[in-house]
């Protein structure tokens, strides 16, 4: 139990640090903090009618000492008041709540499927790396690995929707559209993400498998003449699960950023697309919100990864006494 508490504290403090970062940035950066808190256009309007300006200063306690402001900021964060987005004319939290499901709809299944396929491929190309089929698969994964995800989306868009007209040019399915229509919108971004994450995970699993197959206990396992799939799972995959989970959780930051950019190409109204709009409009509260959501997602993934590692790796769970 102690271990769980300790890791919960660690990850909670990480979230706190992210929130503090959001709080500090506008106040540390050169220029008037008000600009960063309200966004440029609004700052222009607010300047010339003082009472609106005063009303906001009052609401966010900007005239209070820093510590007070910090306290309010923290409370606001956890009560869901993430500030007001002027470019959308709505509270930031509402926008995020509306757009997040779209991103999850895209990234969650893609990540899960790519984990399964990626592990299967990774085990195969890692176990006998010198086979011709392994070499070819590895170079394909390497190729996908080195290509920017959003560029691949543009190519897919060009080929499948412009030239071959299979799929409409991006955009989200309207709530009333039929299942096929919805899928036709989803299929391109989903396949890009799937392709990308699978290549990524396959390369990670390949590295781990090559490493584990040099261990001594592999010879013992082979001598038992197990069926290949049993051998792969028990003696290749199981021992490398802890590092695999750790690496995947770490790389999530990178893969998530890729996913956000893919959304932009396909005008898929998720967090990525929102981030682009926020950047274009210089809507700072919204920029902070999108950053926080992604950071929190990565932190949660790492927390889950930590939990799973504890569960899967006996060395971590009970390194002293034996219990059944």
């Amino acid at each position: 139990m102690m271990r769980l508490l300790k890791s919960f504290l660690k990850y909670f403090s990480l979230i706190l640090i992210i929130v503090t970062l959001n709080f500090m940035l506008p106040r540390v950066m050169p220029g008037d903090p008000m600009v960063f808190i309200f966004g440029e256009e609004i700052y222009g309007i607010a300047v010339n009618n003082p009472e609106l300006f005063a009303q906001f200063v009052e609401k966010y306690g900007l005239n209070l000492p820093l510590i007070e402001q910090y306290r309010i900021h923290i409370i606001n964060f956890f009560t869901g008041d993430w500030g007001y987005s002027f470019s959308f004319g709505r509270p930031v939290f509402e926008i995020i709540a509306e757009r997040l499901p779209f991103t999850l709809l895209l990234t969650f299944p893609a990540t899960l499927m790519s984990l399964a396929i990626g592990i299967a491929i990774g085990l195969r190309i890692g176990w006998r790396p010198n086979r011709i089929s392994s070499r070819i698969t590895t170079s394909i994964c390497l190729l996908i690995h080195s290509v920017p995800s959003y560029w691949l989306s543009m190519v897919f868009l060009l080929v499948f929707s412009l030239w071959l007209r299979f799929v409409p040019v991006g955009g989200a399915p309207r709530p009333d559209s039929t299942l096929i229509e919805a899928i036709s919108h989803l299929i391109l971004p989903f396949s890009v993400l799937l392709l990308f994450n699978t290549a990524y995970i396959a390369m990670i699993v390949r590295g781990l498998t090559v490493e584990v197959s040099e261990e001594e206990f592999i010879a013992t396992a082979i001598s038992k003449g197990l069926k290949h799939w049993k051998f792969s799972i028990r003696h290749l995959l199981r021992p490398s699960l802890p590092p695999l989970i750790f690496l995947t959780a770490i790389e999530l930051g990178f893969t998530l950023s890729g996913a956000l950019l893919v959304e932009i190409v396909f005008n898929w109204p998720g967090i990525g697309y929102t981030m682009l709009q926020a950047v274009v409009e210089r809507d700072y509260p919204l920029i902070h919100a999108t950053f926080t959501i992604v950071a929190v997602a990565v932190i949660t993934a790492n927390a889950i990864g930590d939990l799973l590692t504890g569960f899967l790796d006996p060395r971590v769970r009970n390194n002293g006494d034996i219990e059944n």
Binding site: V147, P148, G253, S257, L261, V294
Partner: protein, 274 residues
């Protein structure tokens, strides 16, 4: 250990990219003329056609290589430099210092790269220097972790124990023994970080936060998307920059894996494992 085929292919690709860098410094008249009509398809005068404002795509591509390559390499250098330093310190000295470095590494590992850069770029304004600094500051934990593992292995080995018995000072041991042994790992990490840095920078420019004064391959993609090159079917404006990023990353990845493989071989001794 001869250089393996992968490394040779890597060097070939890399030399082609550096060739582009050199060509970018050619004087004006070598390039296609600036023409009034946008989206001209590839023609003898403009080998790669023109983009949305009539500029020659090939010229932008070559100039773009300057920003992408330098940012990629410099930020990877900063990242691996910091990573190696922290890795060696926490690996060799251990104890509380090690504990502190590890929590620092865990913290930075969790911060997502691109969103962080977007926030900072939004504040600091897009500038060449900020991008290098930010990638460097966000990407050192991966190197630190691997370098630390190797440093710990060396620090606890029998020959360092023997050195202490001979009376060698800590500084001497770090410089003469820890650093050279960690160099192989750090070098392969550096080469493998460059592609991520290039793709990350391209992502930032793709969103529109790239440095306008130093357009990179990402900037070309940004304009291609926002100015509707895609709808015009003007593939020649965005296919080449993407390919260049891919080739450069592939080159560095191949070389990086080659070095890593050679380093792993040099440590393992075959004869005694018979």
């Amino acid at each position: 250990m001869g250089t393996s085929r992968t490394e040779i292919l890597g060097f070939l690709l890399l030399s082609s990219v550096f060739l582009m860098l050199i060509f970018s410094f050619l004087p004006e008249e070598y390039f296609g003329k600036k023409s009034q009509s946008p989206y001209l398809p590839p023609s003898p005068s403009n080998p790669l056609g023109t983009n949305d404002i009539g500029e020659d795509v090939l010229k932008n591509l070559l100039i773009g290589s300057r920003a992408s390559l330098t940012i990629g390499i410099l930020s990877a250098l900063v990242a691996t430099g910091i990573g190696t330093l922290i890795g060696v310190i926490s690996g060799f000295f251990g104890g509380r210092i090690d504990e502190f470095c590890r929590s620092l590494t865990d913290l930075f590992l969790v911060i997502p790269g691109l969103p962080m850069m977007i926030v900072l770029a939004a504040y600091l304004g897009p500038s060449y220097f900020n991008v290098i600094l930010v990638i460097g500051l966000l990407w050192w934990p991966a190197t630190a972790r691997i370098v630390r593992a190797r440093a710990v292995q060396i620090a606890n080995s029998a020959f360092v124990e023997g050195l202490i018995a001979i009376g060698a000072g800590r500084g001497y041991i770090v410089i003469k023994h820890i650093l050279p042994n960690v160099y192989g790992v750090a070098l392969s990490r550096f080469v493998l970080t460059v592609p991520s840095a290039i793709i990350l920078e391209a992502g930032l420019s793709f969103i529109g936060l790239g440095d306008p004064r130093n357009p990179s391959w990402g900037t070309a993609l940004h304009f291609a998307l926002t100015r509707g090159a895609l709808l015009h079917g003007a593939w020649w404006t965005f296919i080449p920059p993407g390919l260049c990023i891919a080739i450069t990353s592939l080159a560095f990845l191949l070389i990086g894996f080659g070095i890593e493989k050679r380093y792993r071989e040099s440590v393992k001794s075959m004869e005694r494992s018979l």
